[in-house]
């Protein structure tokens, strides 16, 4: 088993001729909370969607370089199997509107046959909802529909749904971008508690968030990794001027 959850070497990516990533090289160790920072438009989301091949659904993508996830070249495995192990939570909360809160969380477990009995499923749903600190808020209305929840609660529901899929890597695309501070803190707390169970790769444009949660950070700017290292080192003594500017909020 590889030491790294993700290994990327010289990744170039163009969409309809526009170069988005210009030679990204990056490694992410297993069971860390890795935060990829960068100003908007730096290519963070695209990079994240490359890791579980959601990028396949975008038209006109040209890609070169090596991307290994969980030790395998992502273009040598079935993308649907890959996405079962590498689950992404989008920026906008997107719970399935036609399913109850319970069914939303239970769906991936049901599909992937993670559990055998109803009892195990109940436990898994509860575990996932507790992980995101949503259990107390919804335990009495598991049979109601997600539109009854606030935006922040819905985002935590999506996080719980992702956790219930028992992924090996969790990808988070600015999960708190459109969410109030209270819900943001709850999400950050649950991420910290996941540290030992799953590799988390989160993308954010807010340096403060990275400071609060990250073990390891990297800065993506104009399609290349500018700086990378343990969170403390990078924040305390950035080596590059660009990093400094970003951390000061000047980018």
């Amino acid at each position: 088993m590889s030491l790294y959850a993700v290994e990327v070497e010289d990744l170039h990516l163009r969409i309809k001729g526009v170069e988005i990533l210009r030679g990204v090289t990056l490694r992410v160790r297993r069971n860390t909370l890795f935060v990829l920072m960068g100003p908007s438009g730096s290519g963070k989301s695209t990079f994240l969607r490359t890791l579980n091949r959601l990028i396949d659904f975008v038209d006109g993508v040209e890609l070169s370089g090596l991307v290994k996830v969980l030790g395998q070249d992502i273009y040598s495995v079935d993308p649907y199997d890959l996405r079962r192990r590498v689950v992404l939570v989008s920026q906008e909360p997107n719970p399935f509107p036609h399913m109850t809160i319970y069914d939303n969380v239970a769906l991936p477990a049901r599909l992937n046959k993670i559990v055998r009995t109803k009892r195990e499923l109940d436990d898994l749903v509860r575990w996932a909802l507790e992980k995101v600190m949503l259990w107390e808020e919804v335990k009495d209305r598991l049979k109601s529909y997600p539109h009854a929840l606030s935006g922040g609660q819905r985002q935590r529901l999506c996080l719980a749904r992702a956790l219930a899929a028992k992924p090996e890597i969790l990808l988070l695309d600015e999960p708190t971008a459109n969410i109030d501070p209270v819900n943001t803190i709850k999400i950050e707390e649950s991420l910290k508690s996941l540290r030992d169970e799953v590799t988390v790769i989160m993308v954010t444009h807010m340096p403060h968030q990275a400071v609060r949660v990250a073990d390891h950070v990297a800065l993506l700017h104009s399609g290349v990794i500018v700086e990378e290292g343990p969170a403390m080192e990078v924040f305390m003594s950035p080596k590059k001027e660009v990093t400094n500017e970003f951390l000061r909020g000047a980018l």
């Binding site: 091949r53 396949d56 079935d78 993308p79 649907y80």
Partner: protein, 309 residues
Amino acid sequence: MFFSKSDKLLFYSTLPLIVGVLGILLILSYMILSQSWPSFQRFGFAVLTTSAWSPSDDPQREFYGLAAPIASSLYVSILSVLVSLPISICLTLTLIEILPKYLGAPLRYVTEVMGGLPTVIYGLWGSTTLAPFLRDQVMKPLHDYLGFIPLFSCRPLTGHSMLAASITLAVATTPYVTALLIEGYYLIPSKYKEGAYSLGATDYEAYKIMMGILKPYVIAASLLGFSRALSETTIVALTVGNSMKLSLCLFDPAYTIPSLIANQFESARLYEYALPTLFAGALTLLLISLAASYAGIRLVYGWRERIHV
């Protein structure tokens, strides 16, 4: 494009369906062509250029020509588009731009109801209510005062006529044309409307500019409406008067190809060349209708690609 085994599976499960549906279309075209062949062999292209319907027990004395129904088909359909197009343009602008929502929504609902209404109901209404009304209120006065114009030169009898058929058809096809125009109107980027208003245009002038942008779509909608009117059987058979006659006069009864087929199919089976001639009519109809829809759809797609630049 296909990322995995399950995608390929989906592809292969759809393939026989598509091939099957395509096959039906090809067999259909082939059947119509082969069934009409005897008629073309016997009469040549005269079957399309002469006008006659004289069946006979002796195949040697049978004689048919479809010029009159073909001409009347085109005449009636074009007329119906000329009536429905201005109404559709008014409806489009009224529904989208002019009326507030609480008035627009019910009006839209009513036009949608009219769009799906079974054609036989339009036919029966056109035949028993509209045609007599048109005869007394429109055709007779026009004939009396403007009878010297060829269009109005004939004396209206029952009211069942090309005019009655065109107007009933126009009423029935307007919702379809309107739906197409509305769809196109929503595709126009809002910058053009802003542009028109910021030049100081009044509402009406802005609508005219918008319709100018929409022009290829309007033409396409007319072509598609024409194709639909041309193919329509029920309404026309009940209102056009069904007579083998070649006339320019709007008040004359006539046959269109579909109404000729609907009326003569049963008895045509008894004669050697009558049925093939009806199939020759069907083939002509099919070709014109497909050509018009194809041209319309090409225009729509072409316009959609150009408008978003």
